[in-house]
């Protein structure tokens, strides 16, 4: 029930985001071009959700912003899922001091207040360390990389715990006796058996990443305008609350829906596993 509701919501959002160019064609507008004559226009036939402080269509910007926000979420899930699984497996397999060091690092990262550190990391001038700056794609990659730096921790802890439980099973011993190499053992035997809890952790990390990206963008450190993201659409909203309170509602609602959908999917999968 939860799972299907979550998947349906996600599907809806994904469809909207994919269809963004079509919607743009239908309304014949450019969501990046300011139109100062129609600032804060109320919802109408040409602007279903009205316009923002620069006269750009809010619905189109929401759809385009969704592309950014969802791709950050997906990128973080892939990165954190991959890195976390690798680290968790390594810790469980190697044991001893490798395990101890990796888990202490994870503990340390978990105990730190993440947002202040994210703010520091996001404020780095990528131009100074030889990376391109200011383009939409490099912004997405920059934010995703930073979020993966914190996001691998829960995945790694889960993967380690699940893998440790598997290593005690007889089939592992049987595979070893049959002469399977350690790499084959990990990839072909342990990994498929711990995939489900890892999937739950990844779904949760998508939710966390969308929230974190929107927070950073809201603070002006994430995705830079004119590229819209759900977070940076709200960064001007505080000054607009007197002119156009409705403009502050939609982007937040989109974030809420996306994060709820991911949480529902994670919850649903977890219930199925029980």
């Amino acid at each position: 029930m939860r799972l299907w509701l979550g998947l349906a919501l996600l599907g809806l959002l994904a469809a909207g985001v994919v269809a963004a160019p079509l919607v743009q064609l239908r309304f014949d507008q450019d969501p990046f071009l300011p139109d100062l004559l129609s600032r804060f226009a109320p919802p109408s036939y040409t602007h279903p959700l009205g316009t923002d402080d620069l006269g750009r269509d809010i619905l189109l910007r929401l759809l385009h912003g969704g592309r950014v926000s969802l791709s950050v979420g997906l990128a973080v899930a892939l990165g954190a899922g991959g890195l976390g699984t690798a680290i968790g497996l390594l810790a469980a397999w190697a044991g001893g001091w490798v395990d101890a060091v990796l888990m202490r690092v994870a503990d340390g990262l978990l105990a730190l207040p993440s947002l202040p550190l994210l703010v520091v990391l996001a404020a780095v001038d990528t131009g100074r360390i030889g990376l391109p700056r200011g383009e939409a794609l490099s912004d997405i990659l920059r934010i995703a990389t930073i979020l993966v730096g914190f996001g691998w921790v829960p995945v790694a802890r889960l993967a380690r715990a699940a893998a440790l439980a598997q290593f005690g099973r007889d089939y592992i011993a049987a595979a070893r006796i049959a002469g399977a190499s350690e790499a084959r053992l990990l990839v072909r035997h342990v990994l498929p058996n711990i995939a489900a809890p890892i999937a739950v952790a990844c779904a949760l990390s998508v939710a966390g990443a969308i929230l974190a990206e929107s927070t950073l963008s809201f603070l002006g450190l994430g995705i830079q305008p004119p590229t819209p993201s759900w977070g940076n659409m709200l960064s001007g909203a505080q000054e607009m609350v007197f002119n156009a309170p409705l403009a502050a509602i939609w982007p937040g609602l989109a974030i809420l829906l996306a994060v709820t959908a991911c949480t529902l999917v994670a919850d649903g999968v977890r219930h199925r596993l029980r």
Binding site: L112, S114, P116, L117, V119, G127, F242
Partner: protein
């Protein structure tokens, strides 16, 4: 217990050292150091002046050497000057910490209390459980900054009951409470979700246990069974949650303080980073990390005191 304490304090010290070194490195890569800013604001300065300024402040030294000099000074109690506020950094730091602790304390108390009540409701009334669950998922998925803006729109703009931000100028208690109400509510609602979900799950598990059946058989009233028998046992995971969650509380404070313009640690860190106030940013960051880790440690110890089964 003593061994645990010493081990954890050592871990905290090492973490702080690593964080300070890492932040030092990262800040070197942030745009605009103070000399750059001085150059930009005064057209009469020549590149030679910039060189001289850099040499005067030791900014031409290698990164490692500068870090060591800074760390030595801090360990000797010299926290340096704040560029943004033009006073010693410690002088801005302590009032900000106080402001944040007030905000965190109230919102933590509120979210724990409401969360526990919602959890108890869901655990005792099975029909209410899905509603509590749904509410918790929604609250957890709400971006803090958006919730803050919504509350401002509703209570400050539309209804005009409460101030949209800032702090009270007079030191009256009622006035301070008016300014605290919206930020505390924002932070409490976001954090409430986890407490409600965890206490509901824990209470549900406890209420099915054998000792509860025994208590019912003795004829104890339901309220005594719930609060005197089941609740103390269900409280342990809630304390654990606090231990795991102290960091996210501080993170939430950064957003809340920025939106409501409260001069706390979170806003201080944000302003200091945006204003290239390296001394202040580093110190505030380290202090926030230290407070978070100490809170985590305190919750860990409380958990061990509550539950003797956890080996010390």
């Amino acid at each position: 217990m003593l061994r645990l304490l010493i081990g954890r304090l050592l871990q905290i010290a090492v973490t702080l050292l690593l964080v300070s070194a890492l932040t030092w490195l990262v800040m070197g890569a942030m745009p605009g150091d103070p000399v750059d800013l001085a150059m930009m604001s005064d057209p009469h300065l020549t590149p030679e002046d910039a060189m001289r300024m850099r040499a005067l402040h030791g900014a031409d030294q290698p990164l490692l050497q500068r870090y060591l000099a800074w760390a030595t000074a801090v360990l000797q109690g010299d926290f340096g000057h704040s560029r943004l506020f033009a006073v010693p950094a410690a002088q801005v730091l302590w009032p900000a910490l106080g402001s944040t602790l007030v905000l965190l304390g109230w919102s933590l108390a509120l979210s724990a209390l409401l969360g526990l009540l919602l959890g108890a409701l869901g655990a005792t009334q099975p029909r209410a459980a899905p509603a509590v669950d749904a509410l918790a998922i929604l609250a957890q998925s709400t971006p803090t900054f958006w919730l803050g803006i919504l509350l401002i729109i509703l209570f400050a703009v539309e209804l005009g009951w409460l101030p949209a931000g800032g702090t009270a100028e007079a030191s009256g208690l009622g006035d301070a409470a008016r300014y605290l109400l919206l930020p505390v509510t924002t932070l409490a609602i976001v954090n409430l979700a986890a407490y409600a979900r965890h206490s509901m799950a824990a209470l549900q598990a406890e209420l099915g246990a054998d000792y509860i059946r025994t208590a019912r058989m003795k004829g104890l009233p339901e309220s005594v069974i719930l609060w005197r028998h089941a609740f103390p046992n269900a409280a342990i995971p809630v304390v654990t949650l606090f231990a795991l969650d102290a960091g996210s509380l501080v993170s939430g404070a950064l957003v809340t303080e920025t939106i409501f313009a409260r001069p706390g640690m979170g806003k201080l860190i944000y302003d200091a980073i945006m204003g290239n106030d390296y001394n202040l940013a580093l110190l505030a960051l380290l202090l926030a990390a230290l407070v978070t880790m100490l809170a985590t440690l305190a919750a860990d110890i409380a958990q061990r005191l509550l539950d003797p089964r956890i080996a010390t």
